[in-house]
Symmetry: C2
Subunit: 197 residues, 2 copies
DNA sequence: GTGGTTTAATAACGGTCGTTATGAAAAATT
DNA sequence: AATTTTTCATAACGACCGTTATTAAACCAC
């Protein structure tokens, strides 16, 4: 029986999540990671694996702690409320923490070096999954008459995600919660409500 | 009178623009830059200065060659046409070149290391300048009755830029021109036309 | 043909990158 | 008390980062 692990793995991962959220995958060095986690590099490697594996664990932690509002939204009975819930919570999450604004998934990698490609693809897949889930929910809404019959669920889902991503970019640039709330409301302002809605 | 410069500075800068557009500021190494420009590092330094100065010159080149549609749009006499022109051309620019999709200004730096902060701020200012110009144009539209009197030019400008940024993120992720065109049209469908419009 | 100036390539600089070898420390078992 | 096992910190690894020193090449004036 050997030496017990001395540091709190959960707190270390929370710290790592914050610095990846603030600086992105490639902008974050091991100097940043060890400072944020409070342990030295070999201990990080031992607990989490290499940088890529660590980022993937931070991404999973982001889902656990911060993206509950997406499945919550998809459970709502009115399509407009689904989208309102998504946009409202996105604005809140992107502006709640002054030390890391914006969205972890957008901040992670947009354009990067060849070495970052696997992470970039993982983040694209994460966004595609969210969009697919929203599209399916809007298809159900349309079938239920909760969406105008000329509306395209695919287009609306892509539009909502585009606005969400744009809000993330603006939040990271320092836009205020008030401004971004107004943007979300603008997006929602002529939601194609169905006859049953 | 010494040796003449052997390489085409303009073509070198065009090549550099492409690789920064594809990989972003920090994702691009000097190995990438020398390959894209077709000259070795000391020649790049001699002609353009350090990496940061080079990126700024590439940004200026991006404006010269690709962002003509913004001043064109601002000259249009109907506000809705202004926004339509911006969104349509953004979709076109973000999807026209398969070897570098998305927007140079969004791809450059969203989140980055401390070393990239000055470039990140330069890109934020570029976006802020575009938004401010659009906001001023929309204020004029409102004064002319070309915009609903309850509409907020500031919010609409922020909304249009958010959609434009979201389109850029999606284009870089591989979304089709058709999908992004539909997103742009969806955004436009919410446009608050004025009584005179 | 020589000298002066400018440009280009090669190679290397100092530092940082992500990763790991090594020895020490801390634990439990014997 | 000694041994085994696991974890931690220090230091260093090989490679790459952005930048530059040095030498050679190409140009023009004389």
């Amino acid at each position: 029986m050997g030496r017990h692990r001395e540091f709190d793995v959960e707190k270390a991962l929370d710290g790592v999540l914050c610095v990846f959220w603030r600086k992105g995958y490639e902008g974050t060095s091991y100097a940043d990671l060890t400072e944020a986690a409070g342990v030295e590099r070999p201990a990080l490697y031992s607990a989490f694996g290499n940088k890529e594996a660590l980022f993937r664990k931070a991404l999973a932690r982001y889902y656990e702690r911060h993206l509950h509002y997406l499945p919550e939204a998809l459970e709502m009975s009115v399509a407009r409320d689904v989208v309102a819930h998504i946009l409202t919570n996105a604005v809140d999450l992107n502006t709640r923490f002054p030390e890391h604004t914006g969205c972890f998934i957008i901040n992670g990698v947009l354009a990067g070096s060849d070495d970052a490609e696997s992470i970039r693809q993982a983040l694209i897949e994460a966004r595609a999954e969210a969009e697919m889930q929203l599209r399916e929910r809007l298809e159900r809404a349309k079938a239920e008459g909760d969406l105008d019959e000329t509306a395209s669920p695919a287009t609306l889902a892509a539009f909502v995600l585009a606005v969400t991503h744009g809000i993330a970019v603006q939040a990271k640039a320092g836009f205020s919660r008030e401004t971004l709330t107004a943007v979300a409301e603008q997006a929602l302002s002529t939601w194609p409500v169905g006859k049953a809605g």
